[in-house]
Amino acid sequence: MEPTLLGRIGYAFVSLFVITNYGLLLIGSMARISAKVQGRVGQPVWQPYIDIIKSSAKRNAIGHGVMFYLGPVFRLAGGIGTYMFIPAVFGSVVFRNFSDSGDLLLVMYFIFFGQLGMALGAGEGGHPYSAIGVSRGLAQMTAFEVPFALSVIAVAVQYGTLDINAIVAAQQGGFARWTLATNPLAVVAAIIAFLGMSGHNPFSVVIAPQEIPIGPPTEYQSNLLGMLQTNRAIFNGAKLVLYMNLFFGGATNIVAMVIKTFLIYFVNVFVGQAFPRFRTDQSIRFFLGVPTLIGIASVIIAVI
């Protein structure tokens, strides 16, 4: 039975709750795995929860104006908006979210909406490191956008639709029907773009935590920082689910979703632990070089 609009909104909250917790645990477990690679014990898996509670429990906070407060709001809206238009589990009523025809374009827009809002907010913070972080972030974003957009175009051409549900439906029926098997070049270009999108090594210079220029959130503290940390989990989950749907055959149940997204995210850790960091100019040159060529090749293959 088709749920009512109110029912769908209720399900969307359930879906959002699940992805938030999953995203937080994913960040925690990946930090733990990275620590093991470095021969450390590492932080507890639930550390992201404690950090968010701690940030939100700060007794005072300072503001720098309206736009400063709106920055994290835009960021959170971008994260939730991205997730809300992607079907997390194919065929599920609860995890269908608000996916509809043409949602692929909307999702691509939403992925960058948050970062632009954050740029405005961080700019009003007035801290020079915020401005440096924003300019680095936007430059890198512009660069990885090219291979990512090319691979999405290849997928859209291949399946002849911009509806994520239809793309997942076309990939059902075994590994041989996944985009990974039918157009591997598009997947390679997209995964390389994903490395830039997630901000792990070698593309971690934008948000370099624990170093002097921490990036756009330099001035953010207390509950605003808590919002940004929560958004990080939601946004990560949304991107992973999008990649799973476009390239890895989607998921028909939540266990398959968890396994596939975990493995996609693991690519980040795998690459990040093996390679040192690029400077921004190096990463721009990198993205506009081989990954872009692979992306163009994937579009040509899809057209032929």
């Binding site: 014990v41 590492g42 932080q43 404690i50 935590p209 170093e211 921490i214 330099t218 920082l225």
Partner: protein, 209 residues
């Protein structure tokens, strides 16, 4: 959260040129009442399990912080991690001797941190001046200038001693005694007078919020 404004009189900011005084805050810090009962205990538990260090090396003792991040000592497993900006960090580690010039930065950074905030002072120099006890430009006792929660004695204290100190800080926070922010607000005039006594070129706002 209820709070009371103890010092309604605005700060003069006399160290600044007149045209710049309006750009900075002129209100003294105020006290924040903790929440009550089990809720505050829960929040204190979260605060103690997520200690973000302000990674400013304010003295030679900061060199003992670096091994803590490495795989041998690994402070991350205790929920401790460095943070580059005072806005986001909750623990200020005073790394040994503080020259008068550094004290100025220490005060500015400490005041910019969001409360509840905690201070760990390491090395003998922060307790009684240590080997710099008769130096002309270092201060002897850091707790005359900012409130200190934990001292770690030694010259230098080993990283193990630092980890033990952080465990002690966790115990203090969980017991609800980590109220340095309120102590600073309550005794603001006394701290400010002490600071101004040693910092001769006072060219910053009286309170860096």
């Amino acid at each position: 959260m209820s709070d009371k404004r103890l010092k309604p009189a605005p700060l003069a900011n006399e160290g600044l040129p007149p045209e710049e005084r309006g750009l900075f805050c002129d209100a003294a810090p105020r006290e924040y009442e903790p929440a009550r009962g089990a809720w505050e205990n829960f929040l204190n538990w979260a605060r103690s399990e997520s200690l973000w260090l302000l990674g400013f090396g304010t003295g030679c003792g900061a060199i003992e912080l670096r091994p803590l991040m490495t795989s041998r000592f690994d402070m991350y497993r205790y929920g401790i991690q460095p943070r580059p900006t005072p806005r986001q960090s909750s623990v200020f580690v005073i790394g040994g001797y503080a020259s008068v010039k550094t004290l100025k930065r220490i005060v500015r950074s400490y005041e910019q941190m969001m409360g509840p905030k905690f201070v760990v002072a390491l090395g003998s120099c922060t307790i009684n001046g240590g080997m710099y006890w008769d130096s002309y430009n270092t201060i002897k006792r850091i707790d005359q200038y900012i409130p200190v929660d934990v001292y770690i004695a030694g010259c230098m204290p080993r990283p193990e001693a630092l980890l033990a100190g952080f465990q002690e800080l966790k115990r203090i926070i969980k017991a609800g005694d980590g109220e340095g922010q309120n102590e600073y607000a309550r005794n603001f005039d006394w701290y400010k007078a002490n600071q101004k006594k040693v910092i001769k070129d006072w060219n910053m706002p009286d309170y860096n919020w």
